[in-house]
Assembly symmetry: C2
Homo-oligomer: 345 residues x 2
């Protein structure tokens, strides 16, 4: 928890010091090989060793005569979400939701006008917000995520996704999913894999939209959570979200979350940060498993960051990938296109 | 937890006072309508209001022009396990596993010879075992469920299922699943439902066999759990099971477990005891939902018990079912056959 919250806090600082708006880089919109899509399951991936490694893995584990054959029931594929299936800059999207939500709720909470960190947020006083530290950040997250029914929270998330716009691209946040990863998810499912999200982000924040956006139903989403309690509510039972951490699905929590929610060891795991390292290490103990890291190398079309980043730091993971021969996606080199809205018709 | 453990404790008492062996009642082996199986999805169910209510529900929610139509993505069906998909007498099967496992482990634990409740169990001294109370029972459960890797536990459960025999039927415990419920599970899946187990029993105890026995994969099994921790284990990462409760999926914990693991409200819920009541009440808040209780009324072919039973007590649930018009299976009346091995060829 400490590290996760620290990362969130740092991302608030980043936002404060750099501002929301970033210079938009040149949009490279390659010609998508639409005509070849029927034969190429990964049309947005550049031909090369990364794409070939994925194709080779899938062929090996799905060929019955192969010594690497894996039965359908054991074809478990896990994907981190933030920075792996959608972008995570300049601020984890869920944290942006928390900040926006607190502002939306403020008129009903006049007491916040004199309470930190709410006062600082409302006044845009980032120095005062930072001074509240991790405890202040947790107050913002709990104020925006707890104290309501699960259905009220679902509705608030859906409403935010319909109305909020990403500061750099001026588009809904769910537009910022990675086209090549959508193709990879479909490709794996077409080959008998069951695809799961295993994210450090909030499970309740993801579930309202993952089915429509990724084709991943709520029960195949694993993430961090706060506790809920059953309330008879005078004959109309509801579940209420409590301001208390239940589970942190990050770092060593990811294998624990995989066991808790999935109950089988993955044979394919995909992540982009050191928070995914234990998931990949755990997966690697499965014979024939495939471990995939996404390296953010494209400062023009997306963002470039790795070892020193406060968001999505990828440091130990890069070393482990090289040491163990895991596949690393070089975003700039390996992806013809980043987002679905850039695919030319 | 308290109530669950109390029920377990009472079932130990029952075992001690009644003995393991029960008189085997006459086996009614009806002629299964094999020839009609292609048209009748529920051949082991007697024609009548219970079977008809199930057929009517499925037709209503799967007919697009119906005002009760439910999209495939929302066809979530949850089933309790003990006493609902398989038998639970004379002792919850998982508790029998715990007792057997402790005996198997005893040679490696000479210290147990002087420690309660182990000493009492080994000596078959039920009075002394009872004297250890709930705390003693928890020691037996933790000794048999924690202190090993998840893979070691899986292997031990699978081994037990292959070797242990139920005292009344002298068959593997997984033979004591209910044929009519297997048909119901298949029927719902054939109609676009996703079927889940939501049990007060241990999630890790069920997952090694639910896929083969019920067609329900591990990630669609919800249950009670103890904590696990990730251990690097000198470069061979494992998950170790800790002697600490993580989650109790019983009573008000069932809606919480449904939200935590499934993330959607069921439209069909099936149980057999007061431990399932909140699951059914929560499901009932979903429009068009179907609530099903199994009433154990067949002392000859299975067991007859309800309001006063220490195992699978069904008291408040019967009243609520009548008040709310929920469907109640009368096992004796509604099921032509109980177990798959009784189906005539």
């Amino acid at each position: 928890m400490k590290t996760t919250c620290y990362a969130l806090l740092m991302s608030v600082l980043l936002l404060a010091t750099q501002g929301c708006k970033q210079e938009e880089g040149p949009q490279t919109v390659p010609e998508a090989s639409v005509s070849a899509a029927s034969v190429d399951p990964l049309p947005s991936w550049t031909e090369g060793p990364t794409k070939q490694a994925i194709l080779d893995f899938v062929e090996a584990v799905t060929t019955e005569s192969s010594s690497s054959f894996v039965p359908v029931a054991d074809r478990i594929a896990t994907f981190d979400n933030d920075g792996n299936l959608w972008s995570e800059q300049p601020l984890y999207f869920q944290l942006q939701y928390a900040l926006d939500r607190v502002k939306t709720m403020a008129p009903d909470h006049p007491e916040w006008q004199d309470q930190q960190p709410f006062k600082a947020l409302m006044e845009g006083d980032m120095e005062a917000l930072m001074a509240e530290g991790e405890a202040g950040l947790i107050k913002l997250v709990m104020a925006s995520h707890a104290g309501m029914t699960t259905e009220e929270f679902n509705a608030a998330v859906k409403n935010w996704l319909q109305t909020a716009r990403h500061p750099r691209f001026d588009r809904p946040y769910t537009d910022l999913v990675y086209q090549p990863m959508l193709e990879l998810l479909s490709y794996l499912r077409d080959n008998g894999f069951t695809t799961f999200i295993v994210s450090g982000g909030g499970i309740d924040f993801m579930r309202p939209w993952t089915e429509a956006v990724y084709g991943i139903p709520p029960h195949q989403v694993v993430g961090s959570s706060i506790k809920t309690e059953f309330d008879y509510n005078e004959g109309n039972p509801v579940l209420r979200k409590l301001p208390e951490i239940d589970f942190i699905d990050d770092k060593a929590g990811k294998p624990v979350g995989i066991h808790k929610f999935i109950g089988k060891k993955p044979v394919f795991a995909s992540g982009n940060s050191d928070g995914d390292l234990q998931m990949l290490q755990y997966t690697a103990t499965n014979p024939h498993a495939f471990m995939l890291y996404l390296h953010h190398t494209d400062g023009d079309r997306e963002w470039a960051y790795d070892r020193e980043s406060h968001i999505g730091r990828l440091d130990k993971g890069l070393d482990e990938a090289e040491k163990n021969g895991w596949t690393v996606i070089d975003m700039k080199r390996d992806w013809k296109v980043i987002y679905p809205f850039q695919v030319s018709e």
